[in-house]
Point group: C2
Amino acid sequence: MTSAQDERERQVLDRIDRARRRRPRVREERITMSHGAGGKATRTLIEAVFLGAFGNPLLEPLEDAASLVLDQARVALTTDSYVVSPLFFPGGDIGDLAVNGTVNDLSVAGATPMYLTAAFILEEGFPVADLVRVTSSMRAAAATAGVQIVTGDTKVVQRGKADGCYINTAGVGLLAAPAPLGVALARPGDAIVVSGPIGDHGITIMLARGELGIEADVRSDTAPLNGLTACLLEAVPGVRAMRDATRGGVATILNEIATSADVGVLVREDSVPVRPAVRGACELLGIDPLYVACEGRMIAVVPGADAERAIAALRGHPLGADAAVIGHVTDDQPGLVQLKTSFGGTRIVDMLVGDPLPRIC
Amino acid sequence: MTSAQDERERQVLDRIDRARRRRPRVREERITMSHGAGGKATRTLIEAVFLGAFGNPLLEPLEDAASLVLDQARVALTTDSYVVSPLFFPGGDIGDLAVNGTVNDLSVAGATPMYLTAAFILEEGFPVADLVRVTSSMRAAAATAGVQIVTGDTKVVQRGKADGCYINTAGVGLLAAPAPLGVALARPGDAIVVSGPIGDHGITIMLARGELGIEADVRSDTAPLNGLTACLLEAVPGVRAMRDATRGGVATILNEIATSADVGVLVREDSVPVRPAVRGACELLGIDPLYVACEGRMIAVVPGADAERAIAALRGHPLGADAAVIGHVTDDQPGLVQLKTSFGGTRIVDMLVGDPLPRIC
């Protein structure tokens, strides 16, 4: 191992130690929707309850996938349950979401996704034709991503539970690069890059529920990111971290960078790509697109000197055509994310609080 | 690879081909509780829908875990969701069930369980104290089994869904033995062994619901089987197959042996160990203990000449103290399981039909 790698690993362990010392407590006596929204309450629940119970050095980085050594193989392992409502929406359904989401968690960990598990919790009365439709989407998504679904499970719960169908996928991938990736490795001067327009998935789900009376020409961005992450890693081997911007949106990832690495983050609002239809819907709903989930977009932290090369690499892939540098890591105000607004002001971007968009994945 | 291994693998592929040709169809238009009971309807759903969509040589053996090669490492991968109701019951709770169940699926695949994922679907309003209790059980079970929980996920669904808490665990283990295991490898003359008294878990759950007005001194047998399977594999390297007898019970596994290997199975009723309290409850409920789930028992198929050595190895472990040979594989009536009853008659033991014991794991 090189001394640069030693240094990186030591930094990761330092962050973990620091996080351990400031472990929070859950103040609520009962679970709320916010605990599942991917923002501040989810983070508190994870740190207080799950790290409290399971805490170990492999879990504690709290990245999208754990990095393991199995025999001689370096392997990434991840899991996600999908409870999106509705099950079918413009641009996708729970099936391709369940494949792409787990493929993406492996991809942003720097792994080549290989094998997936698929576990179904079905509601009594769920149409078999819908299950066939969902599994067909999963097959197609797995084929696109180049992964195989190799084992599974089926449970059935009584009518009224489970909203038709919940799916869990776990995934294993091969880690080729010896250098660890992680938001804790961000350092001042790094550039923060987004791979494309944000918020398409979350807004699509909100509108697909039909409760808001808003129509817009918007589709989920659900897609497998493994091709894109491979392009970026090849062009910029020094990538510090990649994250897919799902629940909690880009704002939550920016806060995880600031908190985990103990750095400041400064983002320019007008550099963040947002489609006009998504921006319009967000304005009508009073939601900041920075908090709206994507399912086929990633944030990458790269050394400042590599920013142009990173953007060129991303734009060379169909899923990264609109990639942009949205901000930088600073040594100012460690732990805080600041946004330079289009009007020239500056405001603090906190983690997602509450749950404006429940059940989006 | 030795020619004996070649022969085994060819046999497995033959079975898969045969299964593919007789793939059934789901007749129901909607999912029923039976589709989750682990018996005949579950099997049909898996073969018709899931194999139809995902079919690949790694999935198709339909064993408890998939066997993969990652880089040079031989790895087993499995997943299970847990929807047991009630969440807490004599002898355990959904937490240790979720760890032990997945540890056991890896163990009976011949793997050394290493790493688990943990994904929670929580109901809005679920007491945080209950979540702490469940995660504490998971920690204790993981420590007992010698595995680490290395990555996870949390989703929250609205009040009225998810019965408090559903848990999915996926697990990876290392496969040391080069010989494949599988019920398709059973052959006439093999002995069928059970590691202990059956039905404790299923009856415990039924009674814990308090709807039947029956009381009995019975506790779940939830336990990690990795120590026991390691003992058996060391003593009898020629083990053909191991299965943990969960949903669908011992009867379903016996049928999977008969169907997958295209052999007959003959079991002697009075050699099947059943605790008096479980037998009594089964009689009151009109249920055959052969269909009642265990969560810490396994069935093993071993060459007939190794039966005594297998029993001695199992009895040398605390979880196998009451291990017994319950029957044999025959070349009579391929595909059928027959039971010699205590009264001297013979009856056919079918796969579980319907769902007499919903939500037991």
